[in-house]
Symmetry: C2
Subunit: 337 residues, 2 copies
């Protein structure tokens, strides 16, 4: 394993100069720098990350905290974040935390992150206030994606507007009884997207003079299976529902399956709209509010790098969502007597 002193010897300079030259620091003559770079690459020298971290106090690594990597939103954000970070010379350490809807997960332990990362990216992980506090106590810069506590740097959607516009699309088609399926409440905090989407949904209904009722809202798993179960529950209780706003595309696709289970056709009997712009939404012609998750990851990475560098990035970066109309929404069926 070639070390810095071998390079120094080969280039005829001190190890300090090698270190400076290789890191692009100033105060190195261009001739010296060229010679060092040359010898370093010839010898295949790469600085030991542990040694330089120990000496400098910086790890050039960030921690990616997320509940899952195998769901659409998370996978795409992580993909974007990892590539964004790598482009900026940082490595990404992956930390997953089980979040089962409605169940407590293991607490986020800041200890593991201590002295291990220069920054933290929290991707769609609903953290309790004290978890946020313990993370902040590390003194490590943090950026939140998807949702984040007030005052923290966050990349997110305008979830309220997204919920409102999705609902308005349904109302505009003539639907008057619009159901909503979303996540379990105790899995979320007051800064969670599902709550804001639901608020937008209620606001839109109220503005249109349509029924606003708890009986029109079912909370369950935030995934395909959850959407499937929730829509069945919704229809069992409110068979008069002619349209459903699902808080995510995965739930919406579950809803399509669940409606199929009940023998209801989409959109002839019931319209369905989701949120995400999932790649496979087209399989069922899903109408949805599209968001750019990959870019959210990229942007979050650069905000975090800014923070790590001591900058003051904007507190909140809001991504737009765009209505994509496909086949899962249509005018409601004629009212039955």
């Amino acid at each position: 394993m070639t070390g810095i002193d071998e390079v120094a010897r080969a280039a005829g300079v001190s190890t300090a100069t090698v270190s400076r030259a290789l890191r692009g620091l100033p105060n190195v003559s261009s001739g010296t720098r060229a010679r060092v770079l040359d010898e370093a690459s010839r010898l295949g020298y790469v600085a030991s990350p542990s040694a330089s971290s120990l000496a400098s106090g910086r790890t050039r690594t960030i921690g990616l905290l997320t509940p899952w990597v195998n769901r659409w939103f998370f996978a795409n954000v992580i993909d974007g974040a990892e590539r964004g970070l790598r482009a900026l010379g940082y490595d990404a350490l992956l930390y997953t935390f089980d979040v089962r809807d409605g169940h407590p997960r293991r607490r986020v332990d800041p200890g593991v992150l201590r002295r291990r990362v220069d920054g933290i990216l929290v991707v769609g992980l609903p953290l309790a206030d004290d978890e946020v506090a313990s993370l902040l106590a590390l003194g490590t810069p943090i950026v939140f994606v998807g949702s984040g506590p007030a005052g923290q740097v966050t990349v997110r959607l305008d979830d309220d507007a997204t919920g409102r516009r999705a609902t308005e699309h349904l109302l505009g088609l003539g639907h008057r009884v619009v159901g909503h399926i979303t996540g379990v409440p105790d899995a979320f905090l007051d800064w969670s997207p599902p709550l804001a989407r639901e608020a937008g949904y209620r606001r839109a209904l109220a503005a249109a003079g349509a029924e606003v009722s708890d009986s029109l809202v079912v909370r369950g798993g935030f995934d395909v299976a959850g959407g499937r179960a929730s829509v069945r529950e919704l229809l069992a209780c409110r068979p008069d529902v002619s349209a459903v706003f699902a808080a995510s595309d995965e739930m919406a696709m579950g809803a399509v399956l669940g409606l199929g289970d009940l023998g209801r056709r989409v959109p002839d009997d019931v319209s369905v709209i989701g949120v995400d712009g999932h790649d496979l939404g087209e399989l069922v012609g899903l109408t949805t509010m599209v968001q750019d998750t990959y870019q959210q990851g990229v942007d979050a990475a650069s905000l975090l790098m800014d923070l790590v560098a001591g900058g003051s990035p904007p507190r909140v970066v809001t991504f737009p969502t765009e209505l994509l109309v496909r086949r899962s929404t249509a005018v409601p069926p004629p009212r039955r007597a």
Copy 2:
């Protein structure tokens, strides 16, 4: 930042004893150990990873090399691997490498991994022979998932058998002209799953006396869009095809979309079968060969840990695939004159 000496002072022992006690090494009296553990947790002490890596030469970190994290197979394997590794006390560093079908990607540079990880998990990344060699030259244990070069520890499917059985299912329904859509050849090596699946497909056709022809095979993107385009190309060239074997569920779902584009119904006009057991396959009633990707990740993690510990795990762990019949395959339509 509390250090090991503070704990040592508080517990009234030397730093060496603290180190031993905290790492669960033998030769520490239980009384001493308890006292040390107590003080350490009271002070919130966590050893600096860089310092201990530097001193010990071990990083307790492994590198996850993968082309994507946002595709089904990869996301699930990574999820399993990360959790498996964490359970064994290891961290996972994520490294993605762009693989665009048919295009060269940036070469895997072993330099970045050097002294940074104790082991490497290669997830579905087709590496050139010299890339494998340069990785092996690191002297770091490596485990491959999905496919791997001969002689290396690999977790995978019996792709040949999977392709054969998928094709046999179609033949068993009475199909005689069975097309195949898969990945672009130059993106794959001789140890790649797509090639083996195709070989199985051809073997099954030959055994049944059905037509084996290059005109029945289309290679394109290994994703939804690729499947969609490929099936259209296939049908344009061979309109007599009554069944399609897609090398992945994502391609199969794309095929369903593409057949829809052409006005062909599934399965009335054309049957479709995939490989994976993708969560959303049910949306289109996709018949498929199911594999357990999550567990492949978990198992790969433990094989790698075994290797890191100096063990000699089995060279190849083969996962079973199981035929799941849903609605996308059926008997062929009556032959036209």
